[in-house]
Symmetry: C2
Subunit: 490 residues, 2 copies
């Protein structure tokens, strides 16, 4: 089949093509979230795909060719450019570049593709979509509370039913209180503890306990070295992350008992109490947002409140029920601009995992209506379409019904195959015979496929032609609409 | 100001940041065009930013580091990847990769950014948006006619008023007839003639005549070598491209006289006549689509019909009136898949120059309504916002009015500056005094700014406070809406 002089038609690994229904599902999520963000006064921004590698901050080139995690290339003037790996780093550059001109707080939302030069895997791509809202120059817990409330409103607007999601929030200060209490002050040790806690959902208390101590061997036999805490310290950390939670007030009381004896712990509880006040003012109930000390977020850069949007809905029933977990999150990161400005600027932000949310929505059949309507196919009865057939299609489109004339140049059999591949609901036929009689023949393709399943005798089926009927030429639109309406009702 | 250890906050040249109104204007164009494409049975597709450099076809690496016109980098497995420079090359790869599974004709539309690694200039960026519709596997002039009709429908849907645009079409066969007649059969010579004709709009008949002959010296003194045709041949080409045009039928008759004596010329006229039949069936009038032999499109790869969407509207009056010219175009290119499949697959397609169209729309003030509504700012009267202030903002949002609480931590004067920078129409104030009296104070910021212009005495203005009024707390939404409605009426 393939000759050596032909170019192979293939995609680079980790990149996908997407079609109508999937693009539409993602667009609906972004549109719904964006409308909420704009109602809260967040202005849309779009930055280019490329930034100076140096401006992205996290992945500085330490070799001749920087490529750890990012796609980079050298510009004509020898400077390194990288494709953005998230929407936060470009925001930092944008705010620093326009610092004097921007209102502060600067509230912006942005959506678009980001690129990661990583090893692709199942459901793990090298290009995917993010949708973020951030407030830069907004100190204080009220700004964090707004993000949590807005996150809840966005989830609802996207179409997650009430009770199907929950915002979970905490603050790094609480954890810092615990770390103070156990005397762990090395940055490296603290990071190991942070990452261990972040795995609670996946490994359970037993796995996290191992990671806080000597370490843990996974199923494949790989050993992860632990934080090396002693039994008493481990106990303290575990009693913190597994504290019994309830309403926000109840959780605050329980946390008071566990971390209320340290300065940082006290500060953390005061912060959450302030967040609770604003959430209550914004009418965000305990069912929509709760406090959970096991929410820590794996990234080092958060400096205060941290929050996640969790889907509590599941797909399917019983033991096989799939839980989706976190579909978005964020927190306070007051060092966003430090490398550009040499000083802290308070900031807090929230990012929606759009692709994950779309997948989840599809699985719980929220996205089932999906995709734009498929076109009616007007058949070219003489292989090459006639003027009359173009008029029929134009009439349908003018009535708002997607329609097209078959233009492939093949016979009627191939045209039915085409209509089938297109997922067309209806074929319209108007050959010379129909034209002379002043009628059109309309075939309900979905009904036809259904009926065909139950008829064994090919000849009998052909004669009965159950899903096909004639209509006066001038009643084309009404006749097509009657079939479409019937489909819709099913 | 800037210390050496700070990262400079800057963008790579040729890339821009865009804000709300501009993003919204582009989204409106794409949405309107996409809705038309889907009504005509075109399915949306999204391909990734990266393709194998080899698959992009036109810019093969002829050196160690390919970078002529495209952004390229080497993947971990040493293969070269490039960012797409248009949406047609990825379509070719997609169709070739899924050839057996796709319905044929395959009708798809796509929009998204493309990247060109070229020298940026005024209005010339290294990342910009395209929006394309193509039919692959559709032979015959009817498919081209559909593209022209659909292009006209898209222009109208985008908001260009009737009479403000025109589709101009021709076919390469006509030109081939002329080239046959003058005996020019070298591919190189033909390309020079093609490019000369393509400059008719810009250089006029005199300039093109020079380029068809010895060559032309431009204002800067640069000399462009011409096609070297003799006077008789030049005359024949020029009488072809400047043929008197009128209705499609009239133009066909005039062309018959100029190129009807060659095989290719005859074939071209028959093709345009077939296109005219379909356009007439689709009710596309002579005012919306005309034939014009000077439309040739500069690219070598077109093999039949070529068409352009021209904005005939202008910005401003008299001699300064800016004409926008072509805002989209396309044609038949039957060799799209040849390099992948070793055989021709007939295809025809249309690309809208989105950025150019958005610029034009803005200039003719069609895009003036633009941008999402600006938020009402609820002031934080005690610097740090109170629970009450969050409730006020939530109430406005629940009524569908964009609103935010000021969260920057600065005093009232800074908050007014903030509201001004945000373009906020209204500030709502509700400090302790207002709370005790059960009222809110509402300030019409646009009216305030207007009145302030006419009052010189600062003190008098402050006492009059003309644009500010009190409303009962429970009438907040109605009071805010009354001001917004007044703004809207202006």
């Amino acid at each position: 089949m393939s000759r050596p002089d032909k170019t192979p038609a293939e995609r680079p690994r980790g990149f996908i093509d997407r079609k109508g229904a999937e693009i539409a599902a993602e667009a609906r999520v972004v549109e719904a979230a964006g409308a909420v963000f704009e109602r809260w006064g967040f202005e849309r921004l779009e930055t280019p795909a490329f930034e100076f590698t140096e401006a992205l901050g996290k992945f500085l080139p330490d070799e001749d060719r920087p490529n750890a995690g990012v796609f980079s290339l050298q510009d004509d003037d020898e400077r390194w450019l990288s494709l953005r790996y998230d929407l936060t780093a470009p925001l930092a550059r944008f705010v620093a570049e326009n610092f004097q001109d921007l209102p502060r707080p600067f509230r912006r939302w942005q959506t678009g593709p980001v690129w990661r030069n990583e090893k692709p895997g199942p459901g793990r791509f090298r290009q995917f979509t993010q949708c973020d809202a951030d407030a830069v120059g907004a100190p204080g817990p009220a700004a964090d509370a707004e993000m949590i409330a807005m996150g809840a409103e966005a989830m609802a607007a996207i179409g997650i039913p009430a009770g199907g999601f929950q915002m979970r929030a905490s603050t790094r200060k609480l954890l810092n209180g615990v770390l103070d209490a156990i005397g762990l002050d090395s940055a490296r040790g603290q990071l190991i503890v942070l990452r261990a806690i972040d795995k609670l959902d996946r490994l359970g208390p037993k796995g996290v306990t191992l990671l806080l101590g000597e370490g843990r061997k996974d199923e494949s036999g790989d050993f992860t070295k632990g934080a090396g805490l002693d039994a008493k310290a481990i106990d303290r950390v575990m009693s913190f992350v597994t504290v019994e939670t309830g309403t926000r007030q109840e959780t605050l009381a329980a946390l008071e008992a566990v971390v209320g004896d340290t300065e940082q712990g006290k500060a953390g509880i005061a912060e959450l109490a302030a967040i609770d006040d604003v959430l209550t003012a914004l009418k965000v109930g305990d069912d929509q947002a709760r406090f959970d000390p096991s929410v820590v977020r794996g990234l080092e850069y958060y400096t205060g409140a941290v929050y996640e949007a969790e889907l509590t809905l599941s797909a399917g029933d019983g033991e096989d029920a799939g839980r989706f977990g976190s579909v978005g999150g964020g927190g306070r990161y007051d060092d966003l601009l430090t490398r550009f400005r040499g000083e802290q600027v308070p900031a807090t932000g929230f990012s929606i995992g759009v692709s994950r949310l779309v997948t989840a929505l599809a699985a719980i059949e929220q996205g089932a209506e999906a995709g734009p309507a498929k076109p009616v196919v007007v058949m070219a009865m003489d292989k090459v379409a006639t003027v009359n057939e173009f008029e029929l299609a134009a009439e349908l489109r003018a009535a708002g019904i997607p329609a097209e004339v078959y233009l492939g140049g093949s016979g009627v059999r191939a045209q039915f195959k085409y209509a089938d591949k297109r997922g067309a609901p209806i074929a319209v036929m108007c050959g010379q015979d129909e034209r002379e009689r002043g009628i059109v023949t309309i075939k309900d393709l979905d009904l036809g496929a259904e009926v065909a399943k139950n008829i064994e005798d090919n000849e009998a089926w052909r004669q009965a032609n159950p899903a096909q009927f004639e209509a006066p030429r001038e009643e084309l639109v009404a006749a097509v609409r009657s079939v479409l309406d019937r489909e819709f009702e099913k």
